[in-house]
């Protein structure tokens, strides 16, 4: 794990001190809201529907037990006992009071955390594969480069007032678990003739105009990476449209100019910038890499695991669904579901955070990850420890065996919390999960990703859900539009709209009809929903959604 330098600590402390003074001046009336708003947003503080919301960055989703315990402390002391993990490897607190936020930021700083650049037109928290450093299919750990990018972008003088927010994601494996194709810049670590480098994707993004990114460079070497990325951001900083918020993201710039034009401009700019990089970044990268050295893995028997797997069916079904393959023999990656049926996706209580911190410390080399799918990962666990971990998780409502299944839903806060929302998302997610749990169909259905957003901003990634749900306001009533066939992985795709939306009462039965249609048309249980959709297309689902509905109405 990377530890921040004294310089970082001093920088954060100074920022917090400034912000404390700004909050005081807002409260005593010497700052107006118009003056204060940009200052609070610079520190991750939003005003939402019912309260303030503080967004804290968890860089590339990596944290240790000390950090997790501190997140629990914040939840307990200054919030209502829980926090919400988001799709951008952040945690959001929904109920802080304005006067407490400086204390919260100081508490975060004690463990090297902060809320800087979690808002505003800057380079946001750099995200990465949540299996980084552990996955069996990994070419190289994406976190050192994510950390390098974090250091380079934090407080970068040229990039504090970009045309719009800017998001970078990195994956170190061919299987893309970081949604790199839907980011402003997606970096995929690749290997060419034994050399590690980066494939650079630009212009992906969700929101109002969803787009899959385009390859701007097939291979950029480690030495060239930072200047290359800087060239991309700087070209966009110049070309990006500041006249229209909805056309300002790099995806529109790429779309309007064409990828070839952008590539030529970036290469031009790169030539100018390259000599200004002295090589210190490469040296720094090597130091960072050393800080991410893998833990000392144990070489031990896995007999305890095998016995539990054979004898305990509840453990077995959890292990089948929630474990992923680790690179080290005898090890597994544990995915802890924050999607217990009927609960709010991504929420964890202070107690649950502490349980996970304890487990990481005791069995997981003190490492935790937050996934963009709003779950928590113990990346390095010896299989012999799994039965004990499972037993502990069970006691705290954390042993739901549903990773990748229909109830493992991504849902943004929607209109229950978010000031921008046009409809609620959380209750829809809760009802779908509860309904399919009652039907006992979840495991039979297999891999199926439902993603829900409460407005077109698409924080819930609905465009790339196998089934995407978008909450809208239709003449003063909540209405839900469905898309099918979205994919967030290396075969990324934007889903297709099925047709007219459904009311809150109709949406759960509509999802059920889609699932029934899938179960009917799939070749076997081995053909997951997304493959079936690609084979048969929209027609059978459309028929199930609308013709059946009409038939019911006509009865």
């Amino acid at each position: 794990m990377y530890n921040y330098s004294e310089f970082d600590a001093a920088f954060v402390a100074e920022r917090n001190r400034q912000f404390r003074a700004q909050v005081e001046r807002r409260i005593d009336g010497s700052l107006t809201e118009d003056e204060f708003k940009p200052l609070r947003l610079m520190n991750g503080l939003y005003l939402q529907l019912h309260a303030y919301m503080l967004r804290v960055a968890i860089p590339y989703g990596t944290l240790d037990s000390a950090k997790m315990r501190q997140l629990a402390l914040l939840a307990e002391k200054w919030d209502k006992g829980y926090g919400h993990f988001t799709t951008r490897q952040n945690i959001q607190y929904n109920w802080p009071e304005l006067r407490d936020v400086p204390d919260m930021l100081d508490a975060l700083a004690e463990v090297g955390m902060h809320a800087i650049q979690t808002s505003g037109n800057t380079i946001r928290n750099v995200t990465a594969d949540h299996f980084a450093g552990a996955a069996a299919d990994e070419i190289a750990d994406p976190r050192p480069v994510a950390e390098l990018l974090r250091q380079w972008s934090t407080d970068h003088p040229e990039f504090q007032f970009l045309p719009r927010k800017f998001k970078i994601a990195v994956t170190g494996a061919p299987a893309d678990r970081a949604v790199t194709m839907a980011h402003d810049i997606g970096l995929q670590i690749v290997e060419r003739d034994g050399e590690i480098g980066y494939k650079v994707i630009v212009g992906g993004g969700l929101g109002r105009t969803p787009m899959i990114g385009k390859v701007i460079a097939e291979f950029v070497s480690q030495e060239d990476l930072l200047p290359y990325v800087e060239a991309v951001v700087s070209v966009w900083n110049l070309l990006g449209r500041r006249d229209n918020k909805y056309k300002s993201r790099i995806k529109i710039t790429v779309h309007e100019h064409g990828i070839d034009d952008i590539r030529a401009r970036v290469e031009e700019r790169f030539k100018v910038i390259r000599p200004t990089f002295s090589g210190i970044d490469v040296q720094l990268f090597e130091e960072i890499k050393a800080a991410f050295a893998p833990p000392a893995f144990r070489d031990e028997s896995t007999a305890i695991y095998e016995t539990a797997y054979k004898t305990d069916p509840i453990f077995r079904s959890w292990a089948d669904v929630n474990l992923a393959q680790h690179r080290a023999p005898g090890y597994a990656i544990v995915q802890i579901s924050l999607k217990a049926h009927g609960e709010t996706p991504g929420d964890a209580t202070a107690e649950q955070m502490r349980v996970m911190a304890d487990l990481a410390e005791r069995y997981g080399h003190d490492e935790l990850r937050i996934s963009h799918e709003q779950n928590v990962i113990l990346p390095h666990v010896h299989k012999s420890d799994l039965p004990a971990i499972h037993a502990e998780l069970k006691k705290h409502g954390l042993a739901t065996a549903n990773i990748g299944l229909i109830s493992d839903i991504i849902a943004c806060p929607g209109m229950d919390y978010c000031a921008l929302a046009t409809a609620r998302s959380i209750p829809i997610a809760q009802e779908i999960a509860t309904r399919f749990d009652e039907l006992k169909l979840e495991h039979e259905i297999g891999e199926l990703k439902i993603k829900i957003s409460g407005c077109i901003n698409a924080c819930g990634h609905h465009h790339v859900g196998h089934i995407g749900i978008l909450g809208l306001d239709r003449a003063g009533v909540e209405n839900y539009q469905i898309t099918l066939g979205g994919d967030h992985t290396e075969t990324a795709a934007i889903g297709d709209r099925t047709g007219p939306g459904f009311s809150a009462d109709e949406i759960i039965p509509a999802i059920e009809r889609i699932v029934e249609a899938y179960l009917e048309v799939r070749t076997s249980a081995e053909e997951p929903f997304i493959k079936t959709y690609r084979r048969v297309g929209m027609a059978p689902f459309k028929a199930a959604l609308y013709e059946q509905a009409e038939a019911y109405a006509a009865e």
Binding site: G29, E33, A51, Y52, K80, L98, R99, M415, I426
Partner: protein
Amino acid sequence: MPREFTPKVVTANALIEGDVVYQTADDRWTRDLSEAELIKDEGLANLRLAQAEGQPELVVGAYLADAAPSEDGPQPTHFREEFRRTGPSNYFHGKQAELTDV
């Protein structure tokens, strides 16, 4: 003929807690919509909004929200205002919890 004016309440968030608040006829801020002043005249509504905006030490983001009269005071006419009045649907938190304490 001028378009008919739909009745409004002045609403905002409390500066410190962020809670949803409403302006009362006697110039207080209440957390209970039923105590809010229901304004039926457009000119008066704009005046009351301006007065609310002149209290930045108490509230932020004041605006006029549609409301309908009822025996129990103003009622929301749109679901967004309904959620603002009650609090989130996934937990018994926020105003719904606080109001039962009263």
